[in-house]
Symmetry: C2
Subunit: 570 residues, 2 copies
């Protein structure tokens, strides 16, 4: 068998390690600044590719990411499999019934959100192709259709994340946004599939094109009806008769690969098949949460970062950065999408403010826009200049949509006690069982760095504590007070191995104490923090584990992984 040489293998593993490591690192960093991880992942590729690393150290760059021999072929294969699996998972998140449940509103927003930017993009690219970044020699109709589609694409995963962050996911406008984005994604990808078909059909003429479009529609229709029904029947059988979850995992990936091959054979891209299979699979109520979790977590934390980082390897983002083109793309795309969706939402009876928020939320484009651009680039439909503009628009809209929606709706991100917990105000070994002494000790910690007198704070907390015990269940207490002149909430966390007597309901000693000082005039934040602590520590197992943590890092790690597990199993 033809294969990679010893040297190429070494390079492949180094390249994978560097790509994945850098992408995950910058992805985490982006998350830290409350930005989508994809921003960091793309940035990792830009740093490692011709834009930065290749420009600074061209020899080293050629050594790590060779452009000839077998290495690029192997990497291309891996990246293509990665992106198909990413689209499989993206498809699984598409819940068709949501669209029908939101009914009229979803159709209004989705269809107008499609029609406005699509026609704006089509008009621009048809009448002023140069302005839209068309290169000499490209087919004007196909280019215009692509440009129009690119203006009208949305990105479900980013939108869902924004809605969850703003606590809007389960609200009326939230569900309309999700349903409309699903509709938009389905429409957009189908149109794009047809464009790819037109591109491939250059030789065969109109009959070949008709065949591609016909087969594409047939494939989608079959998968979303018979395919969906069949998968829903097969899944329980697989779960009953195979080792769990291996049977379902194998089925999901086999089906995804098969549909990818079919769409590639039809003449459109493999990822489209994987996406549609994901839609059909994710729709089945028989797909267990645990299987979903394994697929989602492995794919979005391993395959997706490798894919997004690999994008930067192919394009020089500085050399192809055309600010004029970027502004055109951003303007046409955003104006079309926001106005279309806002109008659609108004027509469905939403108030002006909510309708505007829906419009801005729909304008977050994220991964989907980037993938669309990449496929067009690889198909020779567009050049680097427009690709960079599309990536920039995708990142820019993903970054800003959240804050804009938040400002329009005057929403605040829910307060979390973790935001105020710090290793400097953390005592793992409270040496007392007397609540008053414990409070005094923690108040000293909490007041450090502020202008509040610890004695005054301790006195206020103790007064509140005597009025009624702040003890929660299973050994947690939350002594607190509002303090005059305090600028921002201050929290000190104490662990008592022997236990402090906080007069708890269940009569047991308290091991975990959160002392909270909040500004006098902000009643809201105190309640929010209390609620968050209560929610976080409702599981006695977590309290037990946290009471034994030896330092702040371990304490935080326990909470994070516990919340992660709880989230995954919900």
């Amino acid at each position: 068998m033809n294969g990679l040489s010893h040297h190429e293998m070494t390079v492949l593993f180094f390249a994978l390690a560097v790509l994945l490591g850098t992408a995950r690192l910058l992805g985490e960093l982006a998350t830290r600044f409350r930005q989508p991880a994809i921003l960091g992942e793309i940035l990792a590729g830009i740093l490692l590719g011709p834009t930065v690393f290749g420009a600074i150290a061209p020899e080293w760059s050629r050594l790590l990411f060779p452009t000839d021999g077998n290495f690029p072929v192997a990497l291309h294969g891996l990246v293509t499999v990665s992106i198909s699996l990413f689209l499989l998972v993206a498809g699984m998140e598409v819940d068709l019934s949501t669209v029908f449940r939101q009914g009229k509103a979803a159709f209004h927003v989705g269809l107008l959100g499609m029609a406005f930017p699509f026609s704006a993009g089509l008009a621009l690219a048809w009448f002023f192709p140069r302005l839209a970044g068309a290169e000499a020699g490209s087919d004007p109709l196909i280019f215009a259709l692509f440009f129009a589609t690119a203006m009208a694409i949305s990105a479900l995963p980013v939108i869902v994340k924004i809605l969850i962050d703003l606590n809007l996911f389960r609200t009326d406008p939230g569900m309309v946004v999700v349903a409309s984005a699903i509709l938009l994604d389905l429409l957009g990808w189908n149109i794009f599939a047809i464009i790819l078909g037109m591109l491939g059909g250059g030789g065969g003429g109109i009959s070949h094109l008709g065949r591609t479009i016909g087969l594409t529609l047939l494939f989608v229709a079959t998968m979303l009806t018979i395919g969906r029904w069949l998968i829903d029947r097969i899944l329980p059988w697989i779960q009953a008769h195979t080792r769990w979850p291996g049977g379902v995992l194998g089925f999901a990936l086999t089906g995804g690969f098969l549909c990818a091959a079919v769409t590639e054979l039809i003449g459109i891209h493999a990822i489209f098949g994987a996406f549609i299979f994901g839609v059909a699979l994710g729709d089945s109520g028989h797909l267990r949460a645990h299987t979903r979790t394994i697929l989602e977590q492995f794919i979005s934390f391993i395959f997706a970062p490798i894919f997004f980082a690999s994008i930067g390897l192919q394009v020089n983002f500085v050399a192809n950065f055309d600010i004029g083109l970027i502004l055109v793309v951003l303007l046409i795309g955003s104006a079309g999408m926001i106005s279309g969706c806002t109008l659609g939402a108004r027509m469905s009876g939403f108030k002006a403010r909510e309708a505007l928020a829906i419009g801005f939320a729909m304008n977050a484009r994220g991964a989907m826009e980037i993938i669309l651009g990449l496929l067009a680039l690889q198909a020779g439909l567009i050049r680097e200049r427009l690709f960079v503009a599309l990536v920039t628009m995708a990142l820019f809209t993903s970054l800003t949509s959240g804050s804009i929606v938040q400002a329009i709706l005057r929403r605040k991100r829910p307060v979390q006690f973790q935001d105020y917990a710090t290793g400097k105000k953390f005592n793992v070994d409270l040496g007392t069982s007397d609540p008053k002494t414990a409070i005094r000790e923690l108040a000293r910690l909490a007041c450090a760095g502020t202008e509040v007198d610890p004695e005054v704070a301790a006195e206020a907390v103790w007064r509140r504590e005597r009025a009624m015990s702040t003890s929660l269940d299973h050994g947690v207490a939350v002594p607190h007070a509002r303090i005059d002149g305090l600028k921002s909430p201050q929290m000190a966390i104490g662990i008592s191995p022997t236990g402090v007597d906080f007069d708890s309901m269940d009569g047991r000693p308290t091991h975990l104490i959160f002392l909270m000082l909040t500004p006098r005039d902000d009643q809201r934040i105190q309640l929010d923090l209390l609620a968050d602590i209560g929610r976080t520590f409702r599981d006695p197992v977590l309290v037990e584990r946290c009471s034994q943590s030896r330092n702040f890092t371990e304490f935080l790690a326990l909470i994070r992984s516990h919340l992660g597990e709880r989230h995954a199993s919900e």
Copy 2:
């Protein structure tokens, strides 16, 4: 970027779908016959490769698995990444502390289990190289060393599975077997790494070889001391400061890829680095069960089947099937391994029967032997004939070890009620709330196909029931009786939507009824089945869900996935 053509992409996805689908299917089938899944996965490759599919339909075979162009390169890249990840997970199962805890016994069994087959193999391959399958022109010393190592390799995953199946995993002999196999694996792979180094060092002579061996030992020593310590420090930090479990997953794969690259650079194979990194990673107590589960399940159900099936694509198993060579390999390998391990176990104070069982358990070779052979084949160290012999030995010993150990120890596989549950004796809608009527109805089902009179059986069960209620907690009852003349246990399962009054301790109606008839003279099986049902349905959530299942398939699926989840979280 150089890449796969449209056609090659189509082929790649089809090939992956066929490989994964067939491998999982036959793997499940093998499991159904209580054989290791790897048997089915290898068989899938043999069916799809030159041995069967290629011989029957050579053109179709060339179409699906082309041997020229970019396809083989991309597949090779994917397969190499798959096998490295498989070894990463295999390494994670290696628990170094087990070896020390078992102390003397593990060292006796491990070292003699290494020494005996190794010296037998070395002697044979040195003095009678042809008999051992050496080809003209190969270096006699390197070949002899490889052959010796191949005789002395063990396979932890298969051995662990056999021990669990026989309920021996947590027993004294079981833990000695695991510890010895770990030791053997570590030794064997280190020796093999050195052999690979010798092979690569052909040009550079003795100093180059010394460098490779030195670097290998340095790498292993560093990773298992400083590396292990460092990983144990880094993990809690990652869990505290990154999105969970993405941070840890990314870290695990980045580290695995990096170590793979390092060992490939040293001149030994990439999988060795991934394996050693897995050992260092798996040893950390900070690696959470959920992270392990995601890695293990995704890798062993997706990457491993693709890898094992791909083996069959490369070799014609019929044309290279040399029965003489197979017998030699099997004889030398098994005789050496079994006698060495048995002697080691006797020296550590085990009784003759237990020592012999330990010897046979250690002789299961599974995946490790196959991977060793494949690397030697790819390195040009051996030819197809010996490779097929090694694969055959691996499969044969994996298949037989379980039954032989079972026979020696006179162990029985633990009884499970699922073995006696059948869709034909399943009633989803018991239309009564009277226990006597319910029992009569289920007794009729249970007696179908036997010579037992349903009325007699019902009477016996009812007599037992009146003596004391067989109701367990949360709405499960297990009416039962031993019946004269019955050949094998018979079970009927009934679901009562409205509930039957089985006089339960908690006073609530019974929704799930297992009626059990067992042979009069086999007291044991009745107790075992009762215990198994009690264990399975200890979770009220499962009972609740099962009570609502609409057919037998759904009922079974619920139980399987529930037990799978419970197993994963333990």
